[in-house]
Symmetry: C2
Subunit: 412 residues, 2 copies
């Protein structure tokens, strides 16, 4: 083992989740206990905070507030969607990062994000190697979309899935109280992968969920969709539908953006997105009372419904990143491998090459989706159910969430 002494930088990137701060706490808590890490810096708004020398001295935070990060949704340090240039085309950013790394004697960089962030890690690492600056760079996964390559699943997904399933079960109770009938269309995040919309099937598996589920893994056909909805509605006088925001026609056009025949007269100002669009089309076709509901940001920040499994795994991913780096590992993303022990789910970390994860995307396997493309199979339920388990003991003040309040002292 090669002992490398120096500071570390931790940053958060991309869309937040309910548990990205649990990974932050995993990194910070472990780094504080790791002798070779001399200082823990938090980048404001991810890589942008490095470029602009906005680094918080996380060692100076109140330990009680740091612990609360485990239950605080979103990105406590701020996030970004900054696409770093190809270093061969433009190395300005990389030189700047090198300067900052040198300024603070940074020898460890932990970046918490999705596939774009793994690409950023990979590029920075390659650059540092090229210029001969020793620095260990580790990716910590996060994304509610659950679309990272290699890993069994991603921190953030389990909590979002639990939020979606629980909310569907509640709306299911509500959307059937009148004898006048009702169709309810729920729009769920997921531009290219249907993991989140598929999670609504957990509600159905427990008797109170969508009748129909449409994922972006299969092509959407408006006529078939309308026939499906009408059939269920005629039979049950109620119909609940879950759709991924990314459902698209066979030619690749997103349904949310397309002007179909059916939307003529409606399709010209889709302020509200997919759910109200589909609601208006279904209403026109069936004459039923139709409600479109977009779960919006709520599904990715609903920490009050977080899965304890997800929180602990997110923490574990952050911890493993620091431990592996301290042990000489670099250029890897922490991922998960699931197993069964005594008939129960368990999960351990595994290392993946950053270059393999960068910009790749994992979709729901076609065989986990039913033949008609309007629901998911039991294999999906078996996959997702263990990830939503466990009720964390949420810190509250006067029955409202007590989130971490960081003092964010800038490093000198």
């Amino acid at each position: 083992m090669n002992e490398l002494k120096g500071a570390c930088i931790f940053g958060q990137s991309g869309g937040p989740t309910s548990v990205i701060n649990a990974s932050a706490y995993g990194v910070i808590d472990t780094a504080l206990k790791t002798p070779c890490i001399t200082r823990i810096l938090g980048a404001e708004h991810g890589i942008k905070g490095i470029l602009s020398d906005r680094l918080f001295d996380l060692g100076r935070e109140d330990p009680t507030e740091l612990r609360l990060l485990k239950y605080t949704p979103s990105s406590a340090l701020g996030s970004c969607r900054y696409k770093i240039a190809d270093p061969d085309a433009d190395s300005t950013d990389y030189q700047r990062i090198l300067d900052i790394f040198k300024k603070y004697d940074v020898r460890y960089f932990f970046y918490n994000g999705g596939n774009d962030s793994m690409d950023t890690c990979n590029k920075i690492s390659k650059y540092m190697q090229k210029v001969g600056y020793e620095c260990r760079i580790m990716g910590v996964p996060k994304t509610i979309d659950n679309d990272l390559y290699g890993t069994d699943h991603c921190p953030g997904y389990g909590s979002a899935a639990k939020y979606i399933a629980t909310t569907c079960m509640e709306v299911y109770q509500d959307a059937r109280v009148y004898d006048t009938g009702m169709i309810c269309i729920i729009e769920i995040m997921g531009r290219h992968a249907g993991w989140l919309a598929g999670a609504s099937a957990l509600a159905s598996a427990y008797g109170a969920g969508p009748d129909l589920i449409y994922l972006p893994e299969t092509d959407f056909d408006m006529d078939r969709f309308l026939a499906d909805v009408e059939r269920v509605y005629r039979e049950k006088r109620t119909c609940m539908v879950a759709v991924s925001e990314g459902i698209h026609y066979a030619d690749g056009t997103f349904v949310s953006e397309a002007k179909t025949e059916a939307t003529d007269g409606f399709g010209h100002a889709q302020l509200g997105g997919l759910a109200p669009l589909l609601a208006s089309i279904v209403k026109q076709k069936t004459g039923a009372k139709v409600r479109g509901i977009e779960l919006s940001l709520l599904q990715r920040c609903g920490a009050h419904l977080a899965s304890e499994t997800d929180i602990e795994e997110a923490f574990m991913a952050g911890k493993a990143a620091v431990e592996n780096a301290a042990n000489g590992i670099t250029d890897r993303m922490i991922g998960f491998e699931r197993g069964v022990r005594d008939g129960k789910y368990f999960c351990k970390t595994r290392l993946f090459e950053l270059s393999a994860v960068a910009n790749a995307e994992k979709k729901v396997p076609r065989e986990w989706i039913n033949a008609q493309g309007n629901g998911v199979e039991k294999a999906f339920i078996d996959y997702a159910l263990p990830l939503i388990q466990g009720e964390p003991k949420l810190p509250k003040l006067d029955s409202l969430p007590r989130f971490a309040k960081l003092s964010k002292i800038l490093a000198k």
Copy 2:
């Protein structure tokens, strides 16, 4: 005390809440223990179930499932929005109700709903008195809107308020992670009264809520609104706004329905309602990234965030209705009166004349809203905060809600 022996009918009416079934359990559980009540019938879809002779024999339900009603959102028996005729104009419905009451020897009628339902109770009671049929009729309040006359507050409000405040606190974390700025507009239920939108101020009181709140109690002015939002956004690079769905211009037109100058080119197909409409206007004006979020049904069925205080009070209201009726009381709605004991909030039931409650509406006092009409005062917080307290121990199965499953056996 005049002992009156016979069956009771319980029904649910209007929009459901997270705790209307807790009141149902209060009625059922107490009625089961009340010797003069010989049988407990549940009306399917409220008054409609009586008219169509669709009555469930609730005494035959599994007691374990009945207990789960306390934590099951929405209206387990089904609800309706049936406006009963004036008995002097058309007594058909009343004669039918009388027939059904006679058929099952119904001597107690408990109806759980809002002000329309209290009007229904009142009319039925007056009719029964006129025709000399002895029957005790009690209203049990419910409405997330909190707009019932007389009572300090309504069952259902506390849980919805808690859902709204918690959700706002979470979205607040999420809507400020990027350094690119963001404006977030949250649409909250409440057509004529702003109690629900006002509850978002609980989030602000705990440091993570809306900067601006607009209630239907004051007239809305688009120019002033836009100036408010711009001012906050310029200062903070972020702005969170809560609006009641019922905000309206000085002439009474709902903002959601009006075609203002600012909406030209946008206002012609408002599929998504108020939040996307305001979002598009604010975006046009500020150039900022703007997100409109409608809390939709989620806020009224979000039982996983129910207030224990609300659940217990809802139960207590159902219980008090039965106890009072058994003691000879009729023509009253159960309401609440709050007090302070040892420096702590407490709540006891009080009786209100059905005729006083029927069709009346209680709005947020003007002095609880700030002078500018874009926020609420501390008096509102002091009023609402006790109502959201306490975390119920929610029954779960595999980390998903375990709602009551009634067998709904039709009464013979």
